[in-house]
Symmetry: C2
Subunit: 345 residues, 2 copies
């Protein structure tokens, strides 16, 4: 990739840059007063996600405040089950609720064309965002990983995933089929985002934790590999960042076996763990500042930033948090973080 | 150790046994109808823990049903803050609540003598249990690790540990001092249990997850090492199992740097991760069946047991779950598990 390319894309193709490019998971979100104001303009959170105008404005908000190196589509991982016909809603202050999967017949979702139609406003948002972004700011598209999306569908809500895990044991054929359906529709969903203008992609595996090695292989590795393979088969060649939060000792296995281009590293996983092992030295690593440091600020934030920059120094590195920014973070601390990473503070 | 010793203690000193000894975290607990009946005889959960008669009966209940290779003291990790004068109570169906630490003065707990007095019923329970156990059944004493206990003290409850982690950043000297106090009192507490008859010990680090590498070193490794060193300095020589649940890629660091004798492995951490690295081949590993399999049963349970036995085959192994048994588990599935491990099924 030419040196004229945006920093994020250069790092994703294996280049090491100093300072590293930076973006922040959930950078458009509740920690910004202007986002909280904007949010009032849609009745439900899903309505907000499906409004290209509101989604575009949400994406642009953090970029007006901070010199971030990438934008990320404003959407939600649960638009996929919604598009597949599962009832999805959000309880204020609690999180998502889904009509859980109970009936055998409910497992069949094979109308991907209708699903993509329902998702059309997302692709329209991507086009609008791309048109509104400053030249040189790449746009990241995304989806939830099949298992993460399935946990919500099986459990009916966030939090503990016991029911979802039990379903994986009790109804293996059904759950495996659900994961295949989700992998396939997610590949189509990501491909449409790229066709609409996304420059690279991230797969959020937010619930990689707590799985036995056998389940990790079956529920995380295999469906993610299928998703990436399908995406490539559709002709989509952009870099894909995989973020298996909570994968722990399995993080390297994920990096090696799923086919993702780059690896999102969560807060607790040391960069040295990945660099000491078999992961390609050219694989870009993204992460992994503790999001609580954007609440705390001060010297702790400064030390945390130094630790992260230092620990990833020998890798192609994209600076990010190790988990999404929290609503309690302050814009002042985010500004300070970006300045610290860029060496202007 | 002589071959006449109980299997658990032989494995803890590095011997490989086939079949491996088995015990179950929270084996005395709510999945047993007789426990739920017994529980009614104390007004509060802490009253139950502080009743030597009730605690003894609770310990014996699972042993009457299943040929387990060890008993574990019935108590709670929060007796330590209780003994230190923090108000602790349990909300039915929700979990523990603690008067959170807010005032500077509240951080000072230096009256370890009074704390041990308050804990005297625990040691009386250990004596009674030891007297009531069948010969050859070793008794495991335990405590919570300093950070895990501190999270409850700082957060005021279980669940998310954000406030506790923020306190660690915002008031480093206070939190470090709290961890030292907890390490020291926990060493005394464990030592008293051994003096009363416990044959080995387990340190439960239930909240090792989500910590940055720097915090993991500061909040988990250092205080645990201090606890183990203090314990040894008190003349206590019995084996100590450390169980850092959720430590992920840091599990090996924990095994190597804390001074524990043996390592409890959580559900998601593959045995191969520990055996492939620098961990001593003689270090006993304990774990790590998914507790949900004791709810699910059937073929999934059989396969899960085979996977665990197989994956730990080359190590001194203590069969256990990768997390505590859940109230939804059935006694029938536990019986089946024990029979499977012992090769009688």
């Amino acid at each position: 990739m030419a040196a004229g390319q945006p920093a994020l894309l250069r790092v994703l193709t294996g280049e090491r840059l100093d300072p590293p490019p930076i973006w922040i998971m959930r950078q458009a979100g509740r920690y910004l007063p202007e986002y909280r104001e904007l949010r009032k303009r849609a009745k439900s959170f899903l309505d907000f996600c499906y409004s290209p105008a509101l989604a575009t404005e949400a994406v642009l908000q953090p970029l007006r405040r901070f010199p971030l190196d990438a934008a990320i589509l404003f959407s939600d991982i649960l638009v996929v089950p919604d598009a597949l016909g599962r009832k999805v809603w959000f309880v204020e202050g609690e999180g998502p609720r889904l009509e859980p999967l109970i009936v055998e017949a409910a497992w069949r979702f094979d109308d991907s064309e209708r699903a993509l139609q329902r998702l059309a406003p997302v692709y329209e948002a991507v086009e609008r965002i791309k048109g509104a972004l400053p030249a040189g700011t790449p746009l990241i598209g995304f989806c939830g990983a099949p298992w993460t999306v399935a946990t919500y569908m099986l459990q009916g809500e966030g939090g503990e995933k016991d029911r979802a895990r039990r379903a994986a044991y009790e109804r293996p054929a059904d759950v495996d089929r659900l994961l295949e359906v989700l992998a396939d529709i997610s590949a189509l969903h990501l491909n449409e985002q790229v066709k609409a203008g996304a420059d690279c992609l991230q797969i959020f595996e937010s619930w990689a934790e707590g799985l036995s090695p056998a389940l990790f292989e079956r529920l995380v590795i295999k469906p993610t590999r299928r998703l990436v393979e399908r995406l490539r088969a559709l002709g989509c060649a952009v870099p894909v960042i995989g973020f298996p939060r909570g994968a722990g000792a399995q993080t390297e296995t994920y990096a090696l076996q799923t086919g993702v281009t780059a690896l999102g590293v969560d807060t607790q996983t040391p960069a040295s763990f990945l660099r000491g092992g078999q992961t390609s030295a050219a694989m870009a690593l993204q992460g992994n500042l503790d999001p609580q440091l954007l609440v705390v600020g001060g010297e702790a934030l400064e030390k945390g930033v130094r630790d992260v920059v230092e620990s990833f120094r020998n890798a192609p590195h994209i600076f990010n948090l190790g988990h999404g920014i929290t609503p309690e973070a302050t814009p002042e601390n985010v500004a300070r973080l970006v300045a610290l990473v860029k060496g202007h503070a």
